[in-house]
Symmetry: C2
Subunit: 143 residues, 2 copies
């Protein structure tokens, strides 16, 4: 079990930097590449994906699949992560992503855990539906 060493490189530094600077966004691998390349820190696709995988498996970064059938998004996780318990609500009308943080959800978690023997992972779960204005549009026959 000789964990292989990890070398420090300019590319890795920059990738993590970019994620940290955008810690309130979800970035795609492509967006990261673009950002680094426009900053004259060229980095290859392979390297970006490879390092993202590593960061995800180390729990430093989270991978989200928000847009169904579209590319994955990545977000830096604060080490002291306190804002952990929140759901993502994705509106299939306008595409907006809402972050839902609410006491009620703890109850939901307990319920599902106690009654259905399943513990939900919020970081992986997205609730799809419609925000009120898109719902109204739908009812009015718009779209």
């Amino acid at each position: 079990m000789t964990a292989s060493a990890t070398y420090k490189t300019r590319q890795r530094e920059q990738i993590l930097d970019c994620l940290i600077k955008n810690k309130d966004h979800h970035l795609t691998a492509d967006e990261i590449m673009l950002d680094l390349n426009t900053k004259k820190v060229p980095v290859g696709r392979t390297t970006v994906y490879r390092y993202l995988d590593k960061l995800v498996s180390q729990g430093i970064v989270r991978r989200y699949f928000i847009e169904e059938g579209k590319s994955a998004c990545y977000q830096y996780m604060e080490p002291d992560n306190t804002c952990n318990l929140h759901y993502h609500l994705k509106c299939t009308g306008c595409g907006h992503l809402f972050h839902l943080q609410c006491e009620y959800l703890r109850e939901l978690d307990s319920h599902i855990k106690d009654r259905h023997a399943f513990s939900v992972d919020h970081s992986k779960t997205v609730l799809y539906g419609r925000c009120s204005s898109c719902e109204a549009d739908l009812n009015r026959g718009v779209k």
Copy 2:
């Protein structure tokens, strides 16, 4: 607003047939193609995808994205659909898909709708997490 006519073809008949026969499963487009091709009813990829899109937009079939980053699944919907309100729980350990039908979820829906102005679409939502035995494995350090 001249809705164009729809022709009846052997391929379409077979695709819908396959979905109906498997209405308790989720099938991928590939699985449908394979099924039809082994039954000597060859059908092209294009046709399968095209017709599935049509069925989905007509509400006859539902499209699910269960495996993150993997291919979509399709399932026939009973016209008199009563078993509508249920969530999917996908265990990221063993991969098992649970169908969760429970009164409590109506409450959750109301809560999210009333307090957070968002109406969840169950057909599009998958709760990811771990079933009890995979959770136990995790705690025991297995896997």
